[in-house]
Subunit: 160 residues, 2 copies
């Protein structure tokens, strides 16, 4: 099963997003997790490769099961691991082979064009405490058919 790690950097009330050329939709920089690689290592590596910068104190915020359906048939399924970081070291590329890197105000995540599941995930990553889990079901044209979401936070019993 394909596994994708992405990472959204938050700095000065802005976030760094990648505008993909095909649809003009925005995503957080990221890419495929390799065999034997931890998801943390993958998220850091992919972010560095796509932006030319190092994210500061990345932390996992969401794990999602993504399902593509054609009518009742599942035609694709993958996992998405979304990290947040507070700032970065270096100056991001502007144009890359993957698309254009742009800083946008955090609140623009509410209206920039993107997959609806990504909007849910990125808003949680930058605004909320804890961890989010869920399943997003899309058509092959990335119309969101269904989403189910769960959230958990670290209990008081830790180090109690």
């Amino acid at each position: 099963m394909q596994r994708i790690a992405n990472l959204i950097v938050r700095k000065d009330n802005k976030v760094l997003l990648l505008k993909k050329p095909r649809r003009g939709w925005y995503v957080a920089p990221g890419g495929k997790i390799e065999s034997g690689e931890s998801i943390f290592t993958a998220a850091n590596r992919e972010f560095r490769e796509e932006t030319g910068t190092i994210p500061l104190n990345p932390h996992l915020k969401g794990i999602y099961t993504m399902v593509i359906k054609n009518d009742q048939d599942i035609v694709n399924e993958w996992m998405l691991f979304t990290f947040v970081a507070d700032g970065l070291e270096g100056t991001p590329y502007e144009d890359t082979v993957e698309g254009v890197l742009e800083w946008h105000p955090i609140e623009s995540l509410h209206h920039l064009p993107m997959a609806e599941g990504d909007r849910t995930n990125l808003l949680f990553a930058v605004n909320e405490k804890g961890m989010q889990y869920g399943t997003f079901t899309y058509t092959e044209d990335f119309e969101l058919l269904n989403e189910t979401i769960q959230i958990s936070t670290e209990g008081d019993g830790i180090n109690a």
Copy 2:
């Protein structure tokens, strides 16, 4: 790729463990994540099925890449998602088809027989704050060849 979710319940300074019949090694109750299922839903479902109880406030504590090597060849690779919960609702089964469920003092995780990677993971889950990531490489006989670990905690920028 196979994906396993397990869950360790901590209650009154004890943890609920499953003693597997083949080697007598201890594990946290868990099992396979199904197609389309979120890892949170899977961890809860598997725990309920294996123990007959409901975990309270489960929270993800670790994500691991598990690699089995025969000499230089990777013969198997899967992902493990480890949750912790503070208490449970109900009375656990004693004997199950999977093994015997037993309560043990938290500190016994240091010496009970188990895979060495599981020891690292479960001790982190019950004793530490934040999220742990890593890759564990084993022989086919579950001798630990190598481990690499990363840890992150939620940044101060959350809700700042």
